[in-house]
Amino acid sequence: MEKPKIPVDMILKHLAEGAGQAQERAQKASDVLLGPLETAIATTPYEVVYREDRVKLKHYTAQTPPDDPITTPLLVVYALINRETMLDLQPERSVVKNLLEAGVNLYMIDWGYPSTKDKFLTIDDHVNGYMDNIVDFIRDREATPRVNLMGICMGGTFCVIYSALHPEKVKNLVTTVCPTNFDTDQGLLHIWMKGLDADALIRTFGNMPGDLMNFGFLLLNPARLMIDKYVGFLEHMDNRAFVENFIRMEKWIFDSPDVPGETFRQFVKDCYQQNLLIQGRMIVGGKLVDLGNITMPLLNIYGQYDHLVPPAAADKLTGAVGSADTEDVCLDTGHIGIYVSSKTQKEFTPKIIHFLKSRDSRPDDRKKEHARGKAPSRKTRPPAGASKKALHEVRR
């Protein structure tokens, strides 16, 4: 019988080399960690132009006026989970900066940090209250009848509801990693949410604590998010740029406002547990959310490897709305990678810019489109066999 071969000598050699490198790395890392680090996030200048309760409206202005600006202002609506600073995490990977450079007149909602007094706020208060007031403010300020809406994740769901209830105020709708179909077993979140007792949670906590949600997100992939990510950090902590970007991401990830209790309760029960939105059966503010009212152009972008909002949760929207001008774009990335991955940056923002620009100068043909009936929607998917994005960059 042949004796098994174990290259003990080579393993020991590598271990010795590794120990030497680790020592050298630790010395350099102490210089990096003890020295000045540039870890500020959301550094693109903006002006707060509207405030209501805890909610603020940020208006960004381009440093140099663009040659070919998009005349209709764009309002970006982020989710109530985590913060909108993710769109401006670092200068070279900033969706905000890219949109400004492309000539977008950019507004963004900062939902702030809900406190106990906000626990009674419902989806209706957010959509028909804050969002509607903000849209009206922008319409007045810019002297325009309609705005472009771009929603992110849960903010996308809010935008869908808003567009269905106030279609006359929305020119184009862009949804990104936006959950609209919750009846899927793709993604652990959908499985877990089905058994969640939202009533008991809200009775106990008032608002849904951000830290508790973050713990839940970490549990979606503990091997990568609680072990491998930090092993990766230890391996690269002598690299200043890596450390700065890593800390920026950590700052964003753990900056989690609580979610107002009543909003969380309705989102879990109506959406995750009963899947009312996509069926056109959801009631918000006493009104039925009829997706057939969404007749404006719709661009729906989602990630192939998104494990929070998997393709099955996002790709049913275009088929459910009343618009004749819809497009699905599936990018080769995950939930956060879609905004921060350097590779996706080359596809994501240009796609949105092209969509908005090509429809910006067009006369108001919404009614004509509606009368024409619905044209088949377009779908863009990543090439087969596209590589999965590194998870340390894509927390979700």
Binding site: K5, W192, F205, P222, A223
Partner: protein
């Protein structure tokens, strides 16, 4: 009186004798209390606090009680009552010992099951008995003590205190079980890694780079976690733990609410009422503002 006499004496006769003596004593005391009510400054001071009639009445009552107690039928009942005390104590002790033995037995069973873990990449055959050992022990043996009905003025406060302890214990037990479940993938991943390394050794393809072992392990671990997270057992444990956490926090808050009520500090219930009123008022004001602006 020597030791032999004391051990041989009939306890019922001894009790009867003592009650007769007590009866005579209380009767004498009652008479003397009535006769000396007006003599001396100290007695006068005492009579200011307790009137002679009241004192005499108390003495007579005691006398009546001890006289009634010395009746053979009452004495027999009292004696039987006293006789069951050792039985009660032994019953309580027996119950405690049985509970302890049951705990021991289940722990031994759990220890015996330590070697039989679920198969790799499969959490379908989880040993539910082993998993729920702690919660069963708590539910069966300890929890009932926190649910003994409370009496008197403080009953609600005591009940809430007991509930807080009970819910804390339930949460701790649920958390232990949940953490135990989370530990299974780690345990299994090492087992699978060992199998893979064995296989690579036989094939002569053992990686030279030690980091390759880490990469193999993290991939295996990720796979195990994904399998576990999709299992109904995990979903159930997660739901139970979150529910237990919620119930504990609610019970704790109710207990704290009791404490805060005695201080000049608004409680969360007060604040909630206020917030709700503010919310409704603000909503109405905004609606009115909008309708006015529309006109």
């Amino acid at each position: 009186m020597d030791d032999t006499e004391s051990t041989n004496a009939d306890p019922q006769a001894t009790l009867l004798e003592w009650l007769r003596t007590a009866n005579l004593f209380w009767a004498g005391s009652s008479r003397s209390a009535g006769g000396s009510s007006s003599s001396g400054p100290a007695a006068q001071m005492g009579s200011e606090r307790v009137s002679p009639e009241v004192l005499s009445s108390i003495m007579r009552t005691w006398g009546t009680i001890s006289s009634a107690m010395s009746e053979p039928s009452a004495l027999d009942a009292l004696y039987r009552g006293l006789a069951i005390v050792p039985d009660m104590i032994s019953n309580v002790l027996l119950s405690g010992v049985q509970g302890f033995l049951s705990i021991q037995g289940q722990l031994m069973e759990k220890m015996a099951n330590l070697g039989s873990r679920p198969e790799a990449y499969s959490f379908k055959h989880l040993d539910q008995e082993a998993l729920h050992a702690w919660s069963d022990l708590y539910e069966k043996e300890l929890r009932r003590y926190f649910n003994i009905p409370q009496l008197g003025l403080n009953r609600f406060y005591q009940e809430r205190l007991n509930q807080a302890f009970d819910k804390f214990n339930i949460f701790t037990v649920a958390l232990i079980e949940f953490m135990n479940l989370l530990g299974l993938p780690v345990e299994n991943s090492f087992k699978v890694l060992q199998d893979q390394v064995d296989k690579l050794t036989r094939e002569g393809a053992v990686p030279e780079d030690p980091q390759e072992f880490y990469r193999m392990w993290i991939k295996i671990l990720e796979g195990h976690f994904m399998t576990l997270f999709k299992s109904p057992e995990y979903t159930s444990a997660l739901t139970t733990t979150i529910q237990a956490l919620g119930e504990f926090i609610s019970a704790r808050n109710q207990m704290l609410q009791d404490a805060l009520q005695s201080l000049p500090i608004p409680t969360s219930r007060d604040m909630d009422d206020l917030y709700e009123e503010l919310y409704v008022l603000k909503k109405r004001v905004k609606e009115l503002e909008k309708s006015l602006a529309a006109k």
